[in-house]
Amino acid sequence: MFKILTVCANGMGSSMILQMVLEPIINDMKLKDNVQIECISAGQAAGMISSTDLILCSEQLHGMFDIPEGKVLVTIRNLIDKNEIRGKVHSAITENFPQLLQSGGK
């Protein structure tokens, strides 16, 4: 299962909004069955990043947590802009995880 984490300061606001906007985008990409999305706080993120493939957070939070090698971070400016999120997530997946799009998931 491909894992996406949405992260914000306390896991209650931005990360949940990102998850809400991202879910239909993942459905549109026909990846619903192969992708799991979870939202958490930056404090919890540290312990979960190792089992995550893609991390999304707002630009304001960039730098609040370490991104280990092999993990891909996507920063979002406008958290409710479907086009921005779709565009950035699509290019991140195409660039870093092309096998996800080809095989329809891991």
Partner: protein
């Protein structure tokens, strides 16, 4: 559970308010939550402290802020308040400033607010709705959008 429309009452909506800075905007939005016993004074001060510490994490979209803290910081129950600003103020996010819509939120766990948060996010996704929130003069104008 109350929906957003029921939560936005004359006690929790203030329109066209003049503020001098982002701290005052958070305090006025927060004061409405305190007055309906939705959270403590500390909950609101925690939001301001956190912004000072890590930056304006509460600005979610151009012109829109969602002040909130962790439930354990002093949230009593799920509640939203809405404050619109007569003169927009900067929160310190270059691309998203200035802010003129402030939805303050208190939530007691990480589940119960999802439905109303989704409602707020959906409202804010529509440019026309955002414009009507900014121009709203009365609570009826807001209720018409909900």
């Amino acid at each position: 559970m109350q929906d957003l429309r029921e939560m936005l009452t004359p006690q929790t909506v203030k329109l066209n308010v003049e503020v001098s800075d982002w701290q005052e905007a958070i305090r006025i939005g927060g004061q409405m939550l305190i007055e309906v016993n939705a959270c403590t004074h500390e909950y609101i001060e925690t939001i301001i402290e956190t912004v000072n510490l890590i930056g304006p994490y509460i600005v979610i979209a151009p012109g829109i802020a969602l002040p909130h803290a962790r439930p354990e910081c002093g949230a009593h129950r799920l509640q939203f308040s809405l404050l619109t600003l007569k003169t927009p103020v900067n929160f310190g996010v270059e691309d998203l400033d200035p802010v003129n819509i402030v939805f303050s939120m208190s939530a007691t766990n990480n589940k119960d607010h999802i439905c109303s948060l989704k409602r707020v996010a959906t409202l804010c996704m529509d440019e026309d709705t955002v414009q009507r929130i900014i121009e709203a003069q009365t609570i009826e104008d807001i209720h018409q959008l909900l």
